[in-house]
Each structure stands twice: as C-alpha cells, then as structure tokens.
C-alpha cells in the first residue's frame, strides 16, 4: 500500500505536490499520511533543486556559446570569476566543445581498429517507436548518419569482393537499411498528417485514378 501511494505522489503535478506538502505541515497524526507527506516534501525539494540547476546550466551554456561565437576574452574572465560561487556546473561546462569533425574521405572506411577483424559488433536497428519520439531536426541528422554508415558498408562490401575475403558482419547493412526505411515511414506519416490537417487533401500532387496499359490503377 505504501509503495502505491509513493508512486501516486511521484506522478503528481508541482501544484498538487505543494498542496500535499501543505497538508503535511498542518500536522496529521496518522502514520500513513505522514509517510505520504514526507515523500511529497522530499520530492518537492528534489524537483526545485533540479529546476534551479537546469536554469543555471542553461544560462551558463548560453554564455559559453556567446563567448565561443564572439571570441570575447573579457567575458570569459568575468564568467570564470563569477563561477567561483558554483564551481561544479562550470567545470562540467568546460568539458563541452563544439568543434566540427573534418575527416573527409576517411568516413568511407571503418575505424582502423576494425580493419582485418572477422566480426565487428553493432547494436540493434532503430525501431519506428523509438524514431517517433525524435524531433524533425534529430531525424534529419540521423538520416545522414545512417547514409554515411551505409556508404562505408558498401565500400567494405565491394573491397571484400575484390580481395576475395568474407565481409565482416554483413548484417550491419540490413540493420541500416531497415532503420532508414522506418525513418522514411515516420517522416512520411508526419508530412501526411500535416497535409491532412492543413489542407484536407489526400494526395500530394493533383491527379486522378487512371488505368495504365498493364491494367494497374495509378494516381
């Protein structure tokens, strides 16, 4: 019973949590309610701390990005001096770096550690359910990541045929192809939903159902 009450409290909104905590402060005698109020208090404080930390982090990240873009040394020094009040966050932000990778044609080949291996480990393909949680920018970037991976695997396949050597882990190609197909389907779902909501039109391009010479119905 106690576990279910704790779970219920965790799912509460911030305002509801506040009300529960207020009830706690009134001083209820029953044991069950006391535990509930204790958990509500703990949760509230945790959430408040989390909000404070995230806002601080966001502010620090914004200032860091400004400094990098504007190349301002004075601003950096002022920020460093101001950061002495909460050193942990800034030390975390110093690990950030926004450099572009300039690898060029090396991206057509795998990591040199994997050259000559019989098997290369790879993870599971992306599922449509996972992809639906991602934003459009993320999906766009993921498409190009998968594209580069597929190019690398195709070069590996061709070179292995040339050298008469078995290709290490050919299932990677299938995984990438399936991920790309699912990504495409998710993006098409979104565009179709948007088009239906905005215009109410079923088909992307205007036309009509016609039968071609083979007897197939084509838009």
């Amino acid at each position: 019973m106690e576990k279910s009450s704790v779970i219920k409290i965790c799912r509460l909104d911030d305002k509801q949590l506040l009300s529960v905590a207020a009830i706690a402060n009134c001083g209820c005698q029953k044991r069950k309610k006391k535990t509930e109020c204790n958990t509500a208090d703990v949760l509230l404080t945790k959430r408040v701390n989390f909000y404070i930390e995230t806002t601080q982090l966001i502010a620090v990240c914004k200032s860091v990005i400004n400094i990098i873009l504007n190349n301002d040394e004075q601003q950096l020094q002022s920020m460093v001096s101001a950061s002495n009040s909460f050193p942990s966050l800034v030390e975390q932000c110093r690990a950030l770096h926004s450099s572009h990778s300039r690898r060029g044609l090396e991206e057509f080949f795998d990591d040199p550690k994997n050259w000559g291996e019989q098997q290369v480990k790879s993870g599971a393909p992306w599922t449509a359910k996972q992809l639906r949680t991602k934003s459009n920018e993320d999906l766009h970037k993921l498409w190009y990541v998968l594209l580069k991976e597929k190019n690398m695997l195709l070069t590996l396949e061709q070179e292995s045929k040339r050298q008469a050597v078995p290709m290490p882990s050919p299932e990677r190609l299938k995984k990438v192809e399936r991920s790309m197909k699912r990504l495409d389907s998710v993006v098409n779902e979104r565009t179709e939903a948007l088009r239906l909501l905005q215009t109410g039109v079923q088909n992307e391009r205007p036309g009509e159902w016609r039968k071609n010479c083979l007897g197939q119905a084509i838009w």
């Binding site: 044609l105 080949f109 795998d110 050259w115 190019n151 070179e159 040339r162």
Partner: protein, 153 residues
C-alpha cells in the same frame, strides 16, 4: 536528389526543387587501372550526375572537389544460370573525382593480416600447431641445400 522518386514537372516560375534526405549511396572502389594520385574512384547510382557528385561530397563529406568525370559501365548479360537462362549483371555508373587543393588519396589496405595469439590449451592453438607440423612435413630436407629430389644421393 533521390532515386526512384517522381520529380514534379517544372514550369516557368516554380520555386527551386529541393529534396531533403537524399537516397543516393556512393561507394569508394579501388581503381582497376592505375590512376593519378589525386583521383578517387566511386560507384554511383545511374541517376546521379557530375553536379550531384560534387555537391554530395562537398556538403556531406566536406571534401574539396575538382573536376569530375563519369561513365556508365554496362553489366554483362552473357552469363547463364543452371537453367541456361541469361543472367544480367546490373549496370552501374563510375565517377572519377579529382581532389582540389593538391590533396592526394591512396586506397588503403582494409584487410591486413593480423597475428592472432591464441590462449594456450585452446582448440584454435591445437589446430594451428597441427597445420604448422603439416607444413613442416611438406618442405624438403634443409640439409640438401635446396637441391631437388631428382638427383640421386
């Protein structure tokens, strides 16, 4: 641009056609004939053009590209399968891309032979030892100084 996509017909005044998320896949291949050091050879889809290749490499791979030349390689229809039917090997387009800014590219050896040291007592080690013994037996007697067995003595 993309493969197997129906492009809308262009009429004067239409906006620039843009296709996000290309369908084109390029594979780097080792050149069959000796090429100059700044030339890279790719196998590309038949629908791709020289401009497409240049934009693809510059935008996605950040590679400075000079002149690009393409040709279509016909895949033979001569081979026959077990039912004596002719089997067509697919056609493909080959692109010879010259790198700008005096860069050179050498196709690396992707399958180097690695000396794998097996743990002592494992099945692989026993197999390797057995193969070594067999090879030793096939070699001629080293005390003969390289002379063949044909000569008596």
């Amino acid at each position: 641009m993309a493969q197997k996509v129906l492009y809308p017909i262009y009429q004067l005044g239409n906006p620039q056609l843009r296709i996000f998320r290309t369908n084109f896949f390029m594979s780097l291949v080792r050149p069959g004939k000796e090429q100059p050091p700044d030339t890279v050879q790719f196998r590309i889809p038949l629908e791709m053009t020289k401009c497409d290749v240049r934009n693809y490499l510059e935008k996605i791979y950040n590679v400075p590209v000079g002149p690009v030349r393409t040709r279509i390689q016909y895949g033979t229809n001569k081979k026959r399968n077990h039912l004596n039917q002719r089997v067509k090997r697919p056609d493909y387009k080959v692109a010879y891309v010259q790198l700008a800014k005096q860069q050179t590219f050498l196709f690396p050896n992707i399958f180097p032979t690695k000396d794998v040291a097996h743990e002592p007592g494992s099945m692989d080690e026993i197999q390797d030892k057995f193969l070594e013994d067999e090879r030793q037996r096939q070699k001629p007697d080293p005390r003969r100084g390289g002379i063949t067995d044909w000569f008596g003595f």
